[in-house]
Each structure stands twice: as C-alpha cells, then as structure tokens.
Symmetry: none
Subunit: 261 residues, 2 copies
C-alpha cells in the first residue's frame, strides 16, 4: 500500500556524535526524528504519535527500568529499541521481557540501527492495522480512510477506489500544489507515461461528485502548467446552501505535538 512510509522516531541519547550521524540518515530516508538528551515525560512521548523510540538507558539514570516499563506499558504500539554499551545477558533479557523490542550494543553502525528500528515498527504496525488517524475534515467533507470513502454530511460521495485515493492524497496536503507526475506516481504507483490524461479525468470525476453533494464549496483548484491544489473554499454568494452554518473557515491544520515545541 502506498500509505505511511514515513516513520516518526524519537531518540533519547546524549551521545551527540551518534545522534547526529543517525539524524542525517533518517532524514535522508524521509523519517521524522526528534532528539532528547535526557528523559522526557512519558506523556509527551504519547502526544508525539511515534512509531519508534531509540533510547540509551544510561541517560535515564536510576529510573531507567521503571521508565522503560512505563513507556512500553503506555504505548503498546510503539517500537522500542535500546542502544547502549556494556550490558549483560540478564539485563538484555530483563529489558526484552519488559516490553522492549530490540537491544543493540554500542558502538553500532547507524545503518543497522535504522534497519532494526524499521523492523520493529514494521512489526508493530502490522499488529494493529486499524488505528488509522481519525477522519479528516475539510470544508463540508469528511474523509474516512477506514471506509475508503468520503462523506458530505452523512451522505457518501460514492467514490471508487482510485477516486478516493486521489482525493485522499490531495487532502493530505491541503494548500499544496501537487504536480501531475507526482500525483500519478503516488496514486498509481508507477511513473506516468507522457501524454497520459488519467489524472485530469479523475479530477473531473471528483469535482463532479464534490459539486453534487457539496455545492457552495470549491475544493480542487487547477494550477495551469503544474497540477492541482486541494483547498476547501466557501464560494461567495451562496453561504445559505451549506447544510451546516459556515462558522469555521480554516479546517484546523492539525497542530502536531511532534513538530511543535
């Protein structure tokens, strides 16, 4: 499937050299990484919606075990990898029993650390495939990925698979202009042939269905010579047509605990 390639990783470690090298690689791989030199409250980790956590318990001091147990208990979906120098078999066994997913020894090659983080979050993801993000709301629209469908109010737009994927892709980056080639690449999964009009055709179908069930709003905008942009706009002149009072204008561009602070 073409969703959720990017991994959200938090690193708790004060070994700046290692952390820096790692950050360079994860960034190249398209991951989102945040680094902390010391323990941070578990609640903050929860808010970050992480996929993976890499931690050196030595920076946690005495409370390392309790802290790790707490984290693993609170976030059963989080992949936790410990990376530390010097450890005994007993420690490693204890950690793994505790809920830690992998335990590697410093010095370690960053590539291996990444591969292991990838492995644990791959496994975690498979275990719980249905915790998709809540429904995305834009204008009068509600996009529910668990139903492969979009709704205007309570009425289904009756989108086909491709139509839905296209809409979802566009709505995932509201306000951003996406080029045809990029759209095709991500929805169809392979490179667009020169002269292919599929994207245009599907944009039209989407517009038709959107117009039909949510008139008064304009969702998809053309950028000549480039591509399309998704941005719900209340059309002037007929605010009365909307089924719900047009109180909100901007669809709450998700504040993100990860990127914030």
């Amino acid at each position: 499937m073409n969703q959720q390639q990017t991994i959200r990783l938090a690193v708790i470690d004060d070994d700046s050299g290692f952390v820096t090298v790692l950050a360079k690689r994860t960034e190249a791989a398209g991951w989102q990484q945040r680094t902390f030199a010391g323990g941070i409250p578990p609640e903050e980790l929860v808010a970050m919606k992480l996929n993976a956590l890499l931690v050196d318990p030595t920076v946690l001091g005495e409370e390392a075990w309790a802290y790790l147990e707490r984290i693993c208990g609170m976030l059963p979906d989080l992949g936790v990898v410990v990376c530390t120098s010097r450890s005994t078999v007993a420690q490693r066994v204890r950690g793994l029993r505790l809920g830690i997913d992998d335990w590697i020894t410093k010095p370690c090659h960053p590539e291996e650390a990444i591969a292991r983080l990838e492995a644990v979050s791959r496994r975690r993801r498979r275990a719980r495939p249905q915790v998709e993000a809540g429904p995305v709301v834009a204008g009068e629209l509600e996009i529910r990925s668990d139903r492969f469908q979009a709704f205007a109010g309570e009425v289904s737009l009756d989108l086909t698979r491709r139509e839905f994927e296209l809409l979802q892709l566009l709505a995932d980056s509201p306000g951003q202009v996406l080029e045809r080639e990029a759209i095709y690449q991500r929805v169809w999964g392979y490179a667009m042939a020169h002269g292919d009009r599929s994207v245009d055709v599907f944009i039209r179908k989407l517009r038709q269905k959107l117009e039909k069930l949510s008139p008064g709003w304009s969702y998809i905008h053309t950028h000549f010579g480039v591509g399309y942009r998704f941005d719900p706009e209340l059309l002037a002149g007929d605010a009365a047509l909307a089924t719900s009072p047009p109180a909100d204008v901007e669809p709450a561009r998700a504040t993100d605990a990860f990127t914030a602070a």
Copy 2:
C-alpha cells in the same frame, strides 16, 4: 499480564548442542518446538501455524536469502529470528529489510534467544484480546464465540469453521471496510496468493446462510476494488418478516443506502 500462551516455535539449525539446550528451556517454558537440521518447504512451515522461527541461514546454503524472503512474504505475522556466527552489517541490514525481525550472533545465551523470540512474537497476541465479552449482537444476529456459531433468533446458522471465523472477523469491526488481503491474512493465517478467490467464495456462502435465516437484513456489503464491510441494515419494505419462515419475497437488494434519494 503477559499472555503466557504457548508459543509454537520452529528451529532450523544443525548445531545440535545449541538446539538441545534451547529445546530444554523452551520446553520448560511450555513452548512447542520442532527442530529441523535443514531447510524444509515453506508450505510445511505454513501448515505448522507457527508463532516464531529461529534459523541459522548457513544450513540453507545458497538459497538462504531467497528462502527467508519467501517465508517472510508468506507469513507476515511470523516472528523470524536469524541466529548465526560471523555476519557483516550489510548482511544484517539486508536481512532485516527483507522482513526478518531480529538477528543475533552465535554464540549466544539461550535465555537471550528465548527472550528475543518472545519479543518478536509478542505483538500478535497483544493485539487480540482473545477473551470476548458477551455474545456479539448485530441486527438479528447473535455471534457466540464460545460456540463457534452464529444464531438468528434461536436457530443456528450452521456455519463451518472458516465461515464462522470470517463472520466473526467482519463483525468485530462493524462499519469498517476490510481489504481482501487483510481478511485472508487474518482468517487463513498467511498471505493471500494473487488471484485467490477464497474470500469471495466464503462471503457468498455466508450471505446465503444469512439471507436464508435472516431475510430482510443485509449484513455484508461489497466495496468494489477493495473488500467487504459488515454493517447490519434493515432492508426497506419488509420489517414485518423478522423471525417468520422464509417467504418467497425477493427483497429489493439495496445497493447502497445512499445511492437512492
């Protein structure tokens, strides 16, 4: 606490010393273990319904990579741990990318091997809270997991094992669209081969039995190009027929509640 359910483990290794020591410990832990000194057909592994696999790729010879890739592809839920002497970072990374869950180096302490095997097979059981509450009721249906059977009123639908598992899976997430691959993966236990129609066939059988004993209701809905969705809907026009014998009324099969109007 820890769902200390019995883990089914297969070991592919010819290091009899290591294997024996390991077997002693796993047995003490209540696991079921089978050992093979050489590669065995992937199909046999599938049939074993394993939770975890420990393998030393050196006994597989040239085809080790292909073999492991095959296994990981066929059994995405299987925890695979490689245990071998001498390996390079590149090899380990390659293996982990392939789908292997953990890679440890010989000699290794059996306790650690066990802890790691436990860790990689932990996910799946955590995701399924095994113990269902009371019987699930949906529409005119009552699904009793303690009897492996569904009832319409007091009459059993007479579902076979697979039929029941399929219905249970669907009914466990009502309103959600489940993709064929995901359904197959979770009911059959391994990856769906391309072009396999088993899911469709069983859906039809389910619909037949549902229709027979609970006409007037529509339970399973098709999502073209995606999969199926369980959602009990009272068909319009014959709310009176509830538990009465099957009259020959052909209930106008509503395609989708929303397409009309």
